[in-house]
Symmetry: C2
Subunit: 529 residues, 2 copies
């Protein structure tokens, strides 16, 4: 199983780097593109422009559909002028924003409250770590600076949001904030975003990713059906193997990007990102004429991730663990409890996912805590992954991967097995291969120390708007502000210099040739026992 | 358009009462069943037991899938003993809960924190209104009693949650809490749940229901395709008409229950409840062999609801409004802005929905506020509807209607046009019509003054567990505690006496023969101009 949180979902990268096609072009040659090497980027295969996406004409620069255009509206009236920042007079008129606002990408408009001014001195922590305040700022939360009201809201625990089987334990462990993902609560953080980041890359963490709701496909035609559902070639997926397996709609848009486990000849689990792809599969089932059952599995994953994860896993499961290769699985038991272990994750570090039926979640959690105590195992939340995934260039569903984005745009075309035979979305993917796309996903390093880029911040080449940010954040390990953005294909080349407008002020940016942290994925693969 | 919030979604009821089939059995005779008359209940057509649901054997009593079984685990350790309440020793052992806990329905187990003790004197407000404290208690929020930590969490405004085009206005208007619905923020409340309840039933309210993401189906085969997608008979839906149109999976489970607007011969909008039924439609499209486009419409609804809603609508749109019959629509304009108005809602009161493209949301919102100022128009949130919908017996998707529940169980079989020709889920529905179901949805009046039933509280007949609560709350207008529950079909008859275990204490309950508030739907239909 492979995916986790929002800004933190397991697997993509693992596959990206771990699988044969990853970082390579469709013909298997090493990609030397303008864009990043991880799954968040794409292979610049030099296909021209003029592509289509989602059945509609491709706009120059895709703008997130969740930020709605209301032209002329300025930034939130709560915005403040920050020292040394561009003009951003928060109390300006509701229509016709201040000058600084011109630097927003079209489609942004009013909407989200403007971000915080720079506060206090830069007080870097040990080992170049950011102070909490700055980490918060750069992690995109503004609670400490502009007040809680602007940073978020109170979310009642209403009965229609599902609770992870581990929910109660995350509460006891002091989880301070939850997000919602696949209609379930996903732990956000326990101590601080940055603490948890460092604990993960240096030690080992436990992460409740039960939100990866598991679509189960069984029945005599399960293999054929699943092979129609994803663009990956499942004839090349052995029983016991795992695959990062994007799901593409008939119109070519990305519907979900699960990690798939093949548990048997005709038995698949797909650990879903945050869209109801189970419903999609049921829709396909309606007229596919295949004999399958499509259900939600009683399968609830947690992740054990970090360089010491193998030690924890060995302590609990013994040497069985050593045989699990990267992106393979082990079906075993824990004192009689059926367990599926996969060497997948989404952290960019060595790691495992462990799946049990709900009835046994409590045993697993306690056993893991016990086995991990001597190794410093700590629960973490999704927020730490916001930073990790940008350093690895991992996109996430709902930001980089969306229904209005195609594999070609998102750099996921390396996962499209064009010649494997029929699959849903193949015609659209073939058309796109012919025509190319107007925009490509790239990873940017941004020259910004005090606030990171936000989604839909404009990317500029001189006076020309050439792209739009999808995610921004601070890479704690590399000590740099990073952003994923869709950019005109012609500019999606390494070292391309650009600017990003953050809070209305231009910041220099450049396209990174590869993810700045462990681009070869050595931490995922090594040390092998 | 017809649906709104979570515990507050527009339409179902409207259709339920407003449409020909509502409250009647399949052959058109008036249902005289044991269960409630609204859409939350069902016709007791005396079909025996032994039915199947979701392709699997029907369990005795459906238990929400979001509450996972971990037998033996007690209630949260934070639970407290309340004066006059049953045993609920919160600091009991983690396994093997306290005696009072035996009254929980199986499948509940640990999970959610136990609810609050009774605090303070009963201090009813004017006109029999509850004090804020008691209203909070009975609305299921425990913030004031057991601390914010147990009642909910802080939700950061992360970029992957979509904002309604009206979001900024709801912020300015002082919205205090949001929920998430179809990946978007839904206003929870502005002042208090109860204030907003009374304002709605006595005056007029404005409600941002942009979360009703609008699935648009167009193309030469749009009518045929949409008629496959829903169990309603769309050959009997004229252009300009609206229908409450459940979507049933191949296995017979409920996937969504949208309100459908037929805007043209081959042009449909489906305003969705909280599941990605757009993905389902794209899945169906894959092999249906029909020429359609399936997209999300640029269509953003708000609701104007309450007895004075027609006055507000007239002030803005003039006498055009008078011609809109219940569950019909008007395509018109507002100073050149294209507008679709439907006489739908989910409040049980006279009301309208107004839909505009995102670009024009600001104009609509301001014009409505201005037109409504003289009539006391106020924005409200979803929480007020928690009470309203129980008084009307309206179920909601994710609680009463779920993938593991069939139309027959939920009382939605009256909407199944068995003989209209092919549609998805027809075979499963026909099987169910033959075999009947083991459980039916009923509306209960519960003898509880200080805390209402919670989802998965057990329903008992003497010492026998015979059902499970799906939703509980206080009906402010009728001054009673109410609950929707799945109950053994044989007991789903009017006036059946039962008990419900609330916080481990038995409370007397009885099956209501009809919704206690305006069962004929006169407030929805009258006064006609």
């Amino acid at each position: 199983m492979g995916r986790g949180g929002h800004g933190a979902r397991p697997s993509r990268a693992d596959t990206a780097i771990g699988e044969p096609a990853v970082g390579r072009t469709a013909d298997g040659s090493r990609a030397r593109g303008a864009t990043i090497d991880g799954p968040g980027g794409g292979n610049d295969d030099g296909r021209g422009h003029g592509g289509r996406r989602g059945g509609r004409e491709l706009g120059r620069v895709p703008v997130a559909r969740d930020v709605l255009p209301h032209p002329g509206s300025g930034p939130s009236r709560r915005a403040r002028r920050g020292p040394g920042r561009g003009e951003l007079e928060g109390d300006g008129p509701a229509r016709g924003g201040p000058p600084g606002d011109r630097r927003r990408a079209p489609g942004r408009g009013g909407g989200p409250p403007a971000r915080a001014r720079r506060v206090g001195p830069s007080c870097a922590g040990p080992a170049g770590r950011r102070s909490i305040r700055r980490a918060c700022l750069n992690d995109g939360s503004r609670a400490e600076v502009v007040g809680v009201g602007e940073a978020g809201t109170f979310l009642y625990f209403r009965p229609w949001y599902r609770r992870s089987p581990y929910f109660e334990e995350t509460q006891k462990a002091g989880c301070r904030s939850y997000e919602l993902y696949n209609h379930m609560y996903l732990p956000g953080y326990y101590t601080s975003f940055e603490d948890e980041y460092w604990h993960l890359v240096e030690h080992v963490c436990l992460w409740d990713v039960a939100v990866e709701r598991c679509l189960e496909i069984t029945g005599p035609d399960a293999h054929r059906f699943t092979n129609l559902l994803t663009c990956r070639d499942l004839d090349r997926c052995a029983v016991g193997q795992a695959k990062y397996a994007p799901i593409i709609a008939p119109d070519g848009g990305i519907l979900n990007d699960p990690v798939l486990l093949r548990l048997g000849e005709n038995h698949y689990w797909l650990a879903l990102a945050d869209s109801d792809a189970l419903l999609y599969a049921k829709g396909v089932q309606a007229f596919a004429g295949l004999d399958v059952e499509v259900t939600e599995a009683d399968a609830w994953p947690v992740q054990v991730q970090g360089p010491k994860s193998r030690d924890v896993m060995r302590a609990l499961f013994g040497e069985r663990i050593d045989g699990i290769r990267y992106y393979w699985t082990l079906q075993t038991d824990l004192d009689g409890i059926p367990v599926v272990i996969s060497r997948t994750g989404w952290t960019g570090e060595l790691g495992y996912e462990i799946v049990v039926p709900a009835l046994h979640h409590r045993t697993l959690w306690f056993e893991l805590r016990e086995a991990g105590a001597g190794h410093g195992l700590r629960p973490i939340g999704d927020r730490a992954l916001d930073s990790l995934r940008l350093e690895k260039g991992y996109g996430i569903w709902s930001r980089e991967y969306r229904q209005d984005v195609t594999p070609g745009m998102a750099g996921l075309d390396r996962y499209v097995a064009f010649d494997k035979g029929p699959f849903i979305g193949r015609e659209a993917a073939l058309r796109e291969r012919e025509t190319g796309t107007d925009a490509r996903l790239v990873l940017l390093e941004v020259d910004a120390a005090d606030a990171d880029a936000s989604p839909d911040d404009g990317v500029w080449l001189g006076e020309r708007l050439v792209g739009s940010v999808t995610s921004g954040g601070f890479g704690h390990h590399v000590g740099k502000s990073l952003a994923l953005a869709y950019l005109e294909t012609g500019l999606a080349r390494p070292e391309q210099e650009l600017t990003v407008a953050i809070l209305g002020e231009e910041r220099r940016a450049r396209v990174l040739p590869e993810p700045p942290y462990d681009p070869s994925g050595s931490r995922l693969r090594e040390p092998d026992p």
